[in-house]
């Protein structure tokens, strides 16, 4: 009998983790950008109490992204440890997260299949899902959106403006980070 069997992570695992880290980065900043660009996300975020901290994460010890509402506005905290989150959505493993993050499966589909757990108020979770649907409408092309969104994507601004806003936010965050 072989004892203490150790199997290293599959070759693809690192790639999936990296992909998840990148998409989480985009999603976090996408949420912040859409909260400025799109009235639907703005309206959802307005209903969140100030200080609300929302984290998307992958178990165990995978990448994560956090956004926090402070002073009435949403800010992206990236992958840093945010402390206790008001709402924590955790994908059970990276394989559960990747199809959602690359637009092959809807966010609600992940919940429906028990691929993710939710810690916190369910109503806030649903508000987040509605925000993510809008964000996905901007980030993904319509051919993918048709598969993952409950309704055809409606955009109040163009893809390009959303991406520019996202990159601008990233640049300003980087500058803040460098300054601090």
């Amino acid at each position: 009998m072989q004892r203490d069997v150790r199997v290293g992570p599959g070759a693809l695992r690192g790639a999936k983790q990296l992909l998840s880290t990148v998409v989480f980065w985009v999603l976090g900043r996408g949420l912040v950008t859409c909260a400025r660009l799109d009235s639907r996300v703005r309206s959802e975020v307005t209903s969140w109490p100030d200080g609300t901290t929302v984290t998307l994460a992958i178990a165990p010890r995978g990448p994560r992204t956090t956004v926090r509402k402070r002073g009435g506005a949403l800010e992206a905290l990236g992958g840093a440890d945010p402390g206790p989150s008001t709402l924590l959505v955790t994908f059970k493993n990276v394989d559960a997260a990747v199809p959602v993050l690359i637009g092959l499966k809807s966010v609600t589909g992940a919940f429906v299949e028990h691929r993710a757990t939710l810690a916190g108020d369910v109503a806030l979770g649903l508000s987040l899902v509605r925000c993510l649907h809008v964000v996905e409408g901007y980030l993904f092309p319509d051919i993918m959106n048709r598969r993952i969104l409950p309704r055809p994507a409606m955009r109040e601004a163009g893809h390009l403006r959303a991406y520019v806003g996202l990159l601008r936010r990233s640049a300003s965050l980087s500058e803040k980070g460098a300054a601090s």
Binding site: T108, F111, R115
Partner: protein
């Protein structure tokens, strides 16, 4: 229909039938327990139903460490904490809950506190938060045939100070033992028998047609609907019929297992909201809203409803109905059952009859869109869709 992926669990041992309650001590000993906390409410105690359980425990040499009989109509965090304290103060090692949804939800809440040592239940809201913890042994004895709470992993507890309804969902909340004894439901009046039966039917129909329906939950849902079709009218007309009562208790349990795994949909989202905004009893809301929710879903769930016609209307009606007409016929079958309950048990058929006013509808629609059940509905619905459905049900 086979989903790409699904999960299913039913961990409760079921005791169903004549003198099932007398077997509770045996099950408690199997769980290494000897001193129970009994949870119920004063009304059930007054009806003598709790005495049946207490004497069974005494006969089986199980001590009753404490009897908590002050559970209110809505489970609250205050009561949950009192129950948990009573459990510890009286050195109990197990919970026996005798009652309807609020008693069983209170017991589930107390079980969370006892099993996690949580100082604030609010910290444990959400889904699948309790996995892997040792849960206090728990026997559930339902006294209505509708909620299916004796086999579900869901609980709703009110925080009366913060005015928040806390939802908990975890298969670890499922009781260890579910006891279906017809003596517990024989005294239910026809009106309550009807509305709780419609609650069970709604669980089954929604579980069968929602987004996480799977072959296992389907089997439970089909069996539940068959029992409701045959035995709900009998239980309403002849409440002392033990066979009808036991069948309806089984229908509620089967539907409970089904929806605990595949979840419910828009009818429950609207029903919870009607309860929260307008105080509509859950069973009444389910009865009124089920045909309207089904009609809304027809475009997406028509094929599934067509399959359900066999169970809702029976084999002859199913065979006599062309396949293309079966979905609509299934909705009609539910409407006919509701009308029958209206005539024979005074069951309300509109939201107005339940006391809902037109002015409350926007708030109900807003609350429904924030209810977790909406995610699992087969057809996407926004606040305008829900408002239209509610207006149709007035």
């Amino acid at each position: 229909m086979i989903p790409a992926y699904y999960e299913f669990a039913n961990t409760a041992k079921v005791l169903s039938g004549d003198r099932a309650i007398e077997n509770i001590p045996y099950e408690l000993r199997n769980l290494r327990c000897s001193r129970a906390l009994v949870i119920t409410n004063s009304q059930l105690r007054g009806l003598g139903l709790v005495d049946v359980v207490l004497s069974a425990l005494a006969d089986g040499a199980i001590e009753v460490g404490a009897l908590y009989d002050d559970v209110p109509v809505d489970s609250s965090v205050t009561v949950v904490n009192e129950v948990a304290r009573a459990f510890g103060d009286n050195r109990c090692d197990s919970i026996v809950a005798v009652g309807g949804g609020s008693v069983l939800d209170t017991a589930k809440g107390a079980r969370i506190v006892l099993s996690t040592g949580a100082a604030d239940l609010m910290d444990l809201r959400g889904s699948d938060r309790l996995v892997g913890r040792f849960m206090t042994p728990f026997v559930a004895v339902p006294t209505t045939a509708g909620t299916g709470s004796e086999v579900t992993g869901a609980a709703v507890i009110k925080d009366t100070e913060r005015h928040v309804k806390m939802a908990f969902a975890s298969l670890d909340l499922v009781p260890d033992v579910a006891v279906l004894d017809p003596r517990m439901t024989m005294g239910l009046p026809p009106r309550l028998t009807g509305s709780t039966g419609m609650d069970a039917l709604t669980h089954a129909v929604e579980a069968f047609s929602c987004r996480q329906a799977n072959p296992l939950s389907d089997a439970y849902a089909r069996a539940a609907i068959d029992l409701v079709r045959v035995y709900l009218p009998m239980a309403v007309l002849e409440g002392r019929d033990m066979r009808a009562r036991l069948a309806m208790a089984n229908a509620a349990l089967l539907a409970g297992v089904s929806f605990s795994n595949s979840m419910v949909g828009i009818v429950h989202a609207m029903g919870h909201a009607c309860g929260g905004v307008a105080g509509v009893p859950h069973g009444d809301a389910m009865a009124v809203l089920l045909p309207h929710g089904m009609a809304f879903n027809l475009d997406c769930a028509g094929e599934r409803y067509g399959e359900l016609l066999l169970h809702l209307a029976g084999a002859e009606a199913y065979a006599a109905t062309p396949a293309s007409e079966r979905p609509a016929a299934a909705v009609t079958a539910v409407r006919e059952l509701l009308s029958w309950l209206h005539e024979n048990a005074g069951q309300p058929v509109t939201l107005s009859e339940c006391g809902v006013t037109a002015g409350q509808l926007p708030d109900i629609a807003k609350a429904a869109i924030d209810d977790g059940s909406i995610v699992f509905n087969t057809r996407d619905a926004d606040v305008h869709d829900i408002l239209r459905i509610l207006e149709g049900a007035m």
